[in-house]
Symmetry: C2
Amino acid sequence: MKETMIPGYTYGSREVARSPLSLSDLELLKKTVMFGDEDVYYLRMSHDVLKPHVSELVKTWYDFIGANPQLLAAFSTPDGRPIPEYLERVRERFEQWILDTARAEYDHAWLDYQYEIGLRHYRTKKNRTDDVEAMDIVPFRYLFLLLVPVLYTMKPYLERDGRSDVDVQRMFEAWQKSVLLQLTLWSQPYLRPEDF
Amino acid sequence: MKETMIPGYTYGSREVARSPLSLSDLELLKKTVMFGDEDVYYLRMSHDVLKPHVSELVKTWYDFIGANPQLLAAFSTPDGRPIPEYLERVRERFEQWILDTARAEYDHAWLDYQYEIGLRHYRTKKNRTDDVEAMDIVPFRYLFLLLVPVLYTMKPYLERDGRSDVDVQRMFEAWQKSVLLQLTLWSQPYLRPEDF
């Protein structure tokens, strides 16, 4: 958990709902996505590589969202007016998300916070954290597809620290696996419990 | 469509349900996953590269499924006995899926067949095509995660044809985008229409 206060950032706090998944459920997800100790190692390597660049990186994601009305809609009123204050409120949590992913302490507190993030994408909690009146869901259809813009814009930053090509490639792959894992966890509130 | 008969392979036939998505919906998905003409070009390049190896490739996927009880469950009875005939029936469709993805004719017939594949993963049509009494759903939680074993085992085969590193990388990336796109389309029956 970051020491400074980030609005709406509740990782590790009692306000976070408890994930319906157990750590052994998580193990099976990790096995399926071939996520192992090596991935933890390379994610942690990426932490200090990415840290100086998190604002710039999130800016590139915001540029992508801004250029894609179908994505900007989730940060807009139901009739389509973008809410700049909403985007600003979320920005620091996005930056912190990069560091939390790279820290790779995927324990129960982390699992719970992934569930919380899912609830905030779905109708269950969307907009409440930031007290805005935006579209009440991030449509499922765009959720996993965002892996590509998020990861591909990250790659040049993984290369900036002068690590070997192998290290850059492994960090990139570890990130892919982790993001797929997280997107799966964020999807849970969208699914009927028996279908998940 | 392949000329030879593959059991249960109905791509392009009248038996396939019509996708609730339009081609302009598909365009927005493609934009989100950054899928463009270059990806079509590289997917088509991969067609002849992969064609001689489809059986071997599907065999590696089956080995992975066999080694992961949480995945083998979808090919097993509800009380957990694997159904070898079911796996065998599906094998040729898996092989054909590689070639269909690489052919990259992502028109309405393709879109409809993606929906059909989704219906066959979900309770709507699971088991019916192959007349088996297996678990009645592929649990959502493993669906997208399979991208990693599927794609990473494919990479060595993309390298076998002596193409340049850049070509191999671009084919791999085009495959990633296409598989994410397809997994998203296959998810549709799992979601409430208004949430998708």
